[in-house]
């Protein structure tokens, strides 16, 4: 059977990743406090990166460091990380500064997002109530992954704790806003998915040559206000796809 050690792991948990990585995890499943802790811990590392660290990132519940293990010893880095881990209760930490709030206009339902009604039924509400709920929710970029620049966004209200569908939708278009288990994903490329296609966006998530090539960063917050298909059609000629952002305090 699995190690008692793994099952009873206490968090934060420090583990090595390959020979040149260390990971500090704040939970064994996604939760708002664990994600906030990962973001705050990452920001603390970035403000004072140990010599020899080459890359710092965060994912759903963890902060990751890649380093040169011949320049910075495992023991020295582990000691520094354990000190930082113990320095405060990271689950109570504030979100870091430097985040943005994005507004990405979205068409809900209709031919552009054909599974809105199905998702609403799963959540036990009318299509109109579903649009109101989704278009006013503010969600956080918990992680980017699967495809470059592709965000996982959460958490939606508990009523949206709906499962993935049984079968796969063979193809949702780029910009599709899909939903499952209290999370959104925006597809950055055309892809198959088991998540339900409830909205359609036009904002490019990746723009080559831009100062910030990826629109969204971990920790950013996003709203998806509703627009009509007519407005959406016009937004497609906009290089920003109708999206706007402001700095969060």
């Amino acid at each position: 059977m699995t190690d008692d050690l793994a099952l009873m792991a206490s968090y934060p948990l420090l583990r090595t990743a390959g020979i040149d990585g260390m990971l500090v995890s704040f939970g064994d499943k996604l939760s708002e406090p664990a994600n906030r802790a990962a973001l705050a811990f990452r920001a603390a590392l970035e403000s004072d990166p140990p010599e020899g660290v080459e890359e710092i990132s965060s994912s759903l519940v963890s902060a990751y460091l890649r380093f040169d293990p011949l320049a910075l010893s495992h023991a020295a880095l582990e000691s520094k990380l354990r000190g930082l881990m113990a320095s405060r209760d990271w689950l109570q930490a504030d979100l870091p500064h430097g985040r943005r709030l994005h507004r990405i206009p979205t068409v809900y339902g209709g031919t552009l997002a054909p599974q809105l009604a199905e998702a609403a039924a799963e959540a036990g509400m009318s299509a109109a109530d579903a649009v109101t709920s989704l278009s006013t929710a503010r969600v956080r970029v918990t992680a980017l992954g699967f495809a470059p620049g592709q965000p996982y966004l959460g958490e939606l209200p508990e009523t949206w704790n709906i499962p993935r569908q049984q079968g796969l939708t063979p193809r949702v278009p780029k910009g599709a806003l899909v939903l499952a288990i209290r999370q959104f994903v925006i597809f950055s490329v055309t892809a198959p998915t088991g998540w339900r296609h409830v909205g359609q966006t036009a904002a490019p998530l990746f723009r080559m040559g831009a100062e910030r090539p990826f629109l969204l960063a971990p920790g950013d917050e996003v709203e998806f206000p509703q627009v009509s298909e007519e407005v959406f059609a016009r937004m497609q000629n906009d290089p920003e796809g109708g999206a706007s952002w402001e700095d969060l305090p």
Partner: protein, 337 residues
């Protein structure tokens, strides 16, 4: 005159590759870069230059023409190669004069061959690197009709070779514990080192599938593991119990549990294992893994000192009398300009 390599024909898996594009993990973009990083370093050493972008050729090469006088090096998995119809040696540097045609056929050992150029390939930089990352939609495969820009070559000798150890037929791989090693039963951790794996035909720049000769591997009960960082070399167990070793273009995070991680020094051996090759794993301690990394880097630094002149057997030289057999005391070729 523009310096370029003209592509008349290219295999389906020919791309420009370099050391990759580190620094974008947080945005979901893995590092990418050459599958066999050692082959890039060998090409650079043969040409007497620092590491540049080179052509990575998976399985089969292509037909190329020098748009100007070029120096080339051929490294990695050996492919049948000729210049204007005359066979040329692999793991060696050659001159490719303007108009000469370089034909590179199917791989004869290993999986990926590399064509490096004096001055390096210089397609447009994307996010700080020239390598294509097709999984991420960065760049594209090289195709017939391309004219690939080549950087300025400060010159140097050709007709040089490098003896390389066999990493082209599978063999032993050293692994360290991964994030999730301890989620696996002790029996499976032990069995990893006792099992012979065969490299499946399913392999690409994202990962290499291996088939165990015994029982499958996996974590009981469909354990759902929160998505965590993926490191190249991670041995990921998918649903059918056969592992994938994740490679240059792996995803940045994933939810499938990983039993162990192949150390960087042994990743070229994974990359170059051809379909059907046998691979074995053995756990090493972190101290042993770091000693191996130190030795690997020392070997990379030592490559330039291991370059030897390429001496042709006079019996093989059909046009012996047309060659200038004796030249000046120093013709300058061996100076580092």
């Amino acid at each position: 005159m523009s310096r370029e390599l003209i592509v008349h024909r290219a295999g389906p898996a020919v791309t420009v590759q370099d050391g990759g594009r580190p620094g974008w993990i947080a945005f979901g973009l893995s590092r990418g870069g050459a599958m066999d990083r050692l082959a890039l370093a060998e090409g650079a050493a043969l040409l007497g230059q620092g590491e540049t972008a080179a052509l990575e050729m998976g399985g089969v090469g292509g037909r190329f023409e020098a748009g100007c006088d070029l120096r080339i090096a051929l490294t990695g998995g050996a492919m049948r190669a000729s210049i204007d119809g005359a066979p040329v040696v692999w793991n060696a540097a050659h001159s490719l004069p303007k108009g000469a045609v370089l034909e590179i056929g199917p791989v004869q050992s290993g999986a990926y061959g590399y064509l490096s150029l004096g001055g390096g390939l210089e397609p447009e930089e994307l996010l700080g690197a020239r390598s294509a990352h097709l999984t991420a939609g960065l760049g594209r495969a090289v195709a017939a009709g391309d004219r690939l820009p080549v950087g300025a070559d400060r010159g140097g000798p050709v007709a040089r070779k490098l003896a390389v150890d066999d990493r082209f037929s599978g063999g032993a791989l050293r692994v360290v514990e991964s994030l999730q090693t301890r989620l696996f039963p002790e029996e499976q951790r032990r069995r990893l080192g006792e099992t012979t794996f065969t490299r499946d035909s399913r392999a690409n720049r994202m990962g290499v599938k291996l088939v165990p000769d015994g029982a499958p591997f996996g974590v009981d009960g469909g354990l759902s593991v929160v998505s965590e960082i993926i490191t190249p070399g991670d041995i990921q167990m998918t649903g059918d119990g056969a592992p994938f070793v994740l490679m240059a273009e792996c995803q940045t995070t994933g939810g499938y549990p990983r039993l162990a991680t192949v150390i960087p020094a042994d990743l070229p051996r994974v990359a170059q294992a051809p379909a059907g090759a046998e691979l074995r794993f053995s756990f090493v301690s972190m101290d042993e893994a770091l000693a191996a990394e130190s030795a690997y880097r020392a070997a990379l630094r030592d490559l330039p000192r291991r370059i030897e002149p390429l001496v042709r057997d006079p019996a093989d030289v059909a046009d012996l009398l047309s060659h200038k057999l004796v030249s000046g005391f120093s013709n300058g070729d061996y100076h580092d300009h």
